[in-house]
């Protein structure tokens, strides 16, 4: 008969905290909880270990003992046979011999330094953006690097990209001037028209004039010589960088109360999203030629970049719209009540939060876009897959599959996995709720 006592109880001394028992901390606890928590779990753990061991025992020797020095698949086979009757090892010799093609396509080997330098330059240029640096001078390189990279990759006179950069600089100055004047509502269209007119009429003459004064140029390398992983990187990175801002504008447009803008954005997003990328790529490569005036030389690679970018922006717009919709309406009200106008409130309050929420989706779209660049093989661009087909078509390497695809797969995996890791880093860094 243990009834709760109604006697007065007062605690005079508080119980101090003690350390937990050993079985509750460290490795022992982890192993017990995660691997051997009950009989079934223990059996599954042991079975899984055996399975992993068996798989690795098959694959690792094949990979690590592979043949690196051989001129053709037949040579590889002979070396393999000499190693023993049942040995089955990889023939990495194909990578050893053709890696430059897989990476650079038919880009002239004496100019390999140019894409490599462009990549290094780009990595430096992008780092202040990726790691949100506050030092403004670092962003100078970020803004000049697209033009420098273009010049390094395609060559020709340096004044072409300089003239292009100049047009944007003028555009920005013009925009600032108009925004301060009475015509501020028209600042965006006027700037846009100005830049277009500049590109139409002044871009080449300005570049030619400058070039005749100070000729600085690199050997011109036409787009059809670009290929391999370099091509995938160029299309992928350009698409990624351009699709984010376009996607943001489309998402804002889709949320807009202005009927025309709203409908245009909805139409664009649904049309682009509703048709497979491969169809758009064929459109870019075949159909556009019918619509463009005869004699226009509109670079196929440029057309593909535009298509891939538009395709990714439609997806991006929907991902960001999800982020925008997830924000409580109070954030809009809070910023409006302080007197912030639409663009200020978007830039300072709404988008930073909406983009943060959308990071997983955005990076997902980036990764998708990057892998989709392999589809350009169908319209005759020599991406890594296209080159692997070309390599297998030679008599030397006819019949080799695994080694090439593993190499290509590894290249893509490294890039995509880094993006995924980066997104997790960014999410942690932007976490402000429970710090």
């Amino acid at each position: 008969m243990n009834r709760p006592s109604s006697k007065l109880f007062v605690r005079t001394e508080l119980i101090p905290a003690k350390t937990p028992p050993l079985s509750e901390i460290g490795v022992a606890k982890w192993v017990r909880e995660n691997l051997f928590s009950n009989t079934l779990n223990s059996i599954l753990t042991i079975l899984s270990f055996f399975l992993i061991y068996w798989l690795l025992a098959q694959i690792l020797p094949w990979m690590t003992q592979g043949v690196w020095e051989a001129g053709s698949l037949n040579e590889c086979r002979k070396i393999r046979e000499s190693l023993g009757e049942s040995t089955n090892v990889a023939c990495w010799a194909v990578i050893n011999e053709r890696w430059n093609q897989l990476l650079f396509g038919f880009y002239p080997p004496e100019s390999y330094w140019r894409p490599i330098l462009a990549l290094i330059l780009f990595s430096f240029a992008i780092s202040p953006v990726l790691f949100i640096s506050v030092r403004k001078e670092l962003y100078l390189l970020t803004f000049t690097s697209p033009f420098l990279c273009y010049w390094l990759l395609w060559g020709n006179t340096v004044w072409g990209p300089v003239s292009a950069a100049f047009s944007f600089l003028l555009g920005i100055l013009l925009f600032q001037q108009i925004s301060r004047s009475k015509l501020s509502i028209l600042s965006v269209p006027i700037t846009f028209v100005f830049v277009v007119l500049y590109w139409w009429f002044l871009l080449t003459p300005v570049a030619e004039q400058l070039d005749s004064f100070i000729p600085i140029s690199l050997t011109y390398i036409p787009s059809k010589e670009f290929g391999g992983f370099m091509l995938a990187l160029i299309i992928g990175i350009t698409g990624i960088i351009l699709s984010l801002p376009i996607g943001i504008l489309l998402a804002l447009g889709r949320q807009s109360k202005l009927l025309i803008i709203n409908k245009i954005c909805v139409f664009f997003i649904e049309i682009i999203r509703g048709v497979p990328l491969i169809v758009w790529l064929f459109t870019a490569s075949l159909l556009l030629n019918y619509f463009l005036p005869p004699g226009t030389n509109f670079d196929l690679m440029l057309r593909v970049v535009i298509m891939v970018t538009l395709f990714a922006s439609a997806y991006m717009a929907e991902v960001i719209r999800g982020g925008l919709a997830a924000l409580p309406v109070g954030q809009h009200e809070g910023s409006s009540s302080l007197g912030l106008n639409y663009w200020q409130s978007m830039r300072l309050i709404i988008l930073p939060q909406a983009l943060k929420i959308s990071i997983p989706g955005i990076v997902n779209t980036f990764i998708g876009l990057f892998k989709d660049t392999t589809l350009v093989v169908f319209i005759g661009l020599l991406d890594p897959i296209g080159l692997s087909n070309a390599i297998r078509a030679t008599t030397d390497w006819n019949g080799i599959y695994w080694e090439l695809f593993i190499f290509i797969g590894l290249l893509f995996f490294v890039c995509c996995f880094s993006m995924s890791r980066y997104s997790q880093f960014l999410e942690r860094r932007l976490q402000t709720e429970h710090r």
């Binding site: 409580p328 109070g330 954030q331 009200e333 809070g334 910023s335 409006s336 009540s337 302080l338 007197g339 912030l340 106008n341 200020q344 300072l348 309050i349 930073p352 939060q353 943060k356 932007l430 402000t432 709720e433 429970h434 710090r435």
Partner: protein, 263 residues
């Protein structure tokens, strides 16, 4: 003759603080779709007045003060705030919002910015103040609401009461002429209500024009010059607090007061 001017003659102790009418609402009507939320609202607020608006939920009191800074659009009638008429003209709306601060039930702080950044943001971007100056002002207001030590934390790390005090400081940083409070204590735990009300009382002592939607009748008694009772989208009764609580005229008011004051 408007109620407000009668009021100002009644309230002798505050005569000196009063001046020109700062908010004029005439024959204002608002609908949400088919639903007629605000009916024929006439209201004049004089500089320095402190008005408490109460009423059952759904009576349109929040909607009314949200119309004053155009978070809600009215369809009929006229609202003039500080000499500027609220129309669909964005310039006018932005001008009014600069002069009207608002405090929300759910604070609506910006969770991705620190407390200090929350406060300094609008002065920097809207008033174009230099950053250092805006931050100094922000710090002084954070001191006034007694949380300068939290300036570098994020809103998510503060308690509800602290967040609401930051929200008040954030509005004050714009140095508004009018402050609107939309149920500022309704989302707070009981022990935090007092710290927020204390800040609001202090603000009232500075002579700020305040419109407060609240159920805190104690606050209404001590601070308000005028209490407005709303029901079904209409102003049912308005009076000075003493009279309003001790001698309510309409049956609806009596019923409402008996329901909220019985504890």
């Amino acid at each position: 003759m408007s109620q407000a001017s009668q009021e100002s003659t009644v309230n002798d102790k505050n005569m000196t603080a009063f001046g020109e009418p700062i908010i004029q609402i005439q024959k204002m009507n608002k609908w949400f779709g088919q639903f007629h939320v605000l009916k024929e609202i006439d209201l004049e607020v004089i500089t320095g007045e402190r008005i408490v608006i109460c009423g059952p939920s759904g009576s349109g009191k929040s909607t009314l003060i949200r119309c004053i800074n155009r978070l809600e659009e009215h369809q009929e009638g006229q609202i003039v705030v500080d000499g500027i008429e609220l129309t669909s003209d964005l310039k006018h709306i932005e001008q009014v919002r600069r002069e009207v601060g608002m405090v929300f039930q759910h604070f609506n702080l910006f969770p991705h910015l620190t407390v200090l950044e929350n406060c300094a943001l609008a002065p920097i971007w809207v008033r174009k103040q230099p950053k250092a100056e805006a931050e100094a002002t922000a710090m002084s207001y954070l001191e006034r609401v007694k949380i300068p030590d939290q300036a570098l934390k994020y809103p998510g790390q503060l308690s509800g009461g602290q967040q609401q005090r930051v929200a008040i400081a954030r509005s004050l940083c714009m140095q508004p002429r009018i402050m609107l409070f939309d149920e500022p204590t309704s989302a707070l735990d009981p022990e935090m209500i007092k710290e927020v009300l204390d800040v609001m009382i202090e603000l009232a002592d500075t002579g700020m024009t305040m419109l407060v939607v609240t159920h805190e009748m104690g606050f209404a008694r001590t601070v308000a010059n005028r209490v407005i009772f709303m029901d079904e989208g209409q102003i049912i009764e308005q009076n000075e607090p003493e009279e309003f609580f001790n001698n309510p005229q309409s049956d609806r008011t009596k019923l409402f007061l008996s329901q909220i004051l019985q504890h």
